[in-house]
Symmetry: C2
């Protein structure tokens, strides 16, 4: 409480042109630089140069990850695209990174995170997993949640959206409804649903999903077959 008195409160507007968002110019191999930092460098440097990464053989310009496309289970995405199996694989990698951070913390007598925190993302970067970042992982958590909680339903949804030629954004939106239904069967307690699943418990419940469960609860006791909400 130093700044003011109340201000725009969380998810509101009031962000506009503050502080001139200077972007530091991209330098190749940035990740490898702040070594010798304590806090533990990666335990194995498992660069995991596998799957859909960007970057290609050539030059200096750091490449973004290829965008995701809706793929069926088992299907490999074509050129310049990443599939959804790859997306879910990233969540599994984060889990492994978390486990490593926990082990290291316990060895040193430090407090260990129980969730995938900033510390874990930082650690992942140090291990060379530059393709993992917080905004991306948070963006798709609920998609991963559906995959964990009802793989059948998740697979069906992927096939349907692929067949319809929908883009990733549409598929992502569509993942909410089945989750709300699952939550409904547990008294609309999404937190409990996440907590009960070992691979999901390490992820924060996304705000949007929590909101949808809350508002679905408000609408009486019909266990909601909500058509995918039009726009949010």
């Amino acid at each position: 409480m130093v700044t003011g008195k109340k201000q725009a409160k969380k998810g509101g507007a009031a962000r506009k042109g503050k502080k001139a968002r200077r972007k530091r110019e991209l330098r190749p191999l940035d990740v490898l630089e702040d070594e010798g930092d304590e806090d533990g460098g990666c335990a194995s440097e498992s660069t995991e140069s596998s799957a859909g990464g960007g970057g290609g053989g050539g030059g200096g310009e750091r490449q973004r990850e290829h965008p995701f496309v809706v793929t069926e289970p088992g299907e490999v995405a074509r050129a310049k695209k990443n599939g959804l199996d790859y997306l879910f694989h990233l969540y599994e990698q984060c889990r492994v990174f978390l486990l490593q951070v926990q082990s290291i913390a316990k060895l040193g007598g430090h407090k260990a995170p129980t969730k995938v925190t900033n510390q874990v993302f930082r650690y992942a970067k140090k291990c060379g997993a530059s393709y993992i970042n917080k905004p991306k992982m948070r963006h798709y958590v609920h998609c991963y949640a559906l995959h964990c909680l009802d793989e059948e339903a998740s697979n069906a949804l992927r096939r349907a959206y692929k067949a319809r030629g929908e883009n990733v954004g549409a598929w992502r939106q569509a993942c909410y409804a089945p989750l709300v239904e699952i939550a409904a069967r547990h008294g609309f307690d999404v937190d409990a649903v996440f907590a009960a699943h070992p691979r999901l418990a390490i992820w924060y419940v996304p705000t949007r999903l929590r909101q949808l469960c809350h508002q679905a609860r408000g609408c009486g006791s019909h266990a909601a077959a909500l058509p995918p909400p039009p726009m949010f």
Copy 2:
């Protein structure tokens, strides 16, 4: 990471004369002012004017709480002092405040804290419990932990330290050793010990206690009858 590059790292030195620690001049009844703030004012204004509070009948100057003295279980502290039953009572109050914050959050579809967080302390203040504050509660958590985990041992320690005429600081220090022993019986996993006790699970494990457990584990498998560590 905006400031610099590494700096003094957590509990180190490097705090000295920064930013001229301006103290805002005390105003009486400060707490009652920032009402109408959303985020939920207190649900009951349970001012709890009970126990050892300071302040006295008279004038404007906001009073500090009376300092604690080592008292036996059931003993009421004499003039201008607060006893240890009162101290432990504060922890129970915080728990109730947490439960209220959780209820309110769930009603509103917001995420609910699982621990006594800043939010809970803020809420307690709004409810008129101005005698509750974070530094104090954090300072004595491990004393409360011993009270929860082994009331017999806790009571014995209180009697012993009272008999010896020790001050609160000495008693507080002495609370560490029995806790380390308890942790030792659980593989030195203090986090697990705290997590397993419902009234304790809502408190963060104090750094110092974690350190002591860690270093006790390092010293072989003797389940540590550690004499109270001389100074830290």
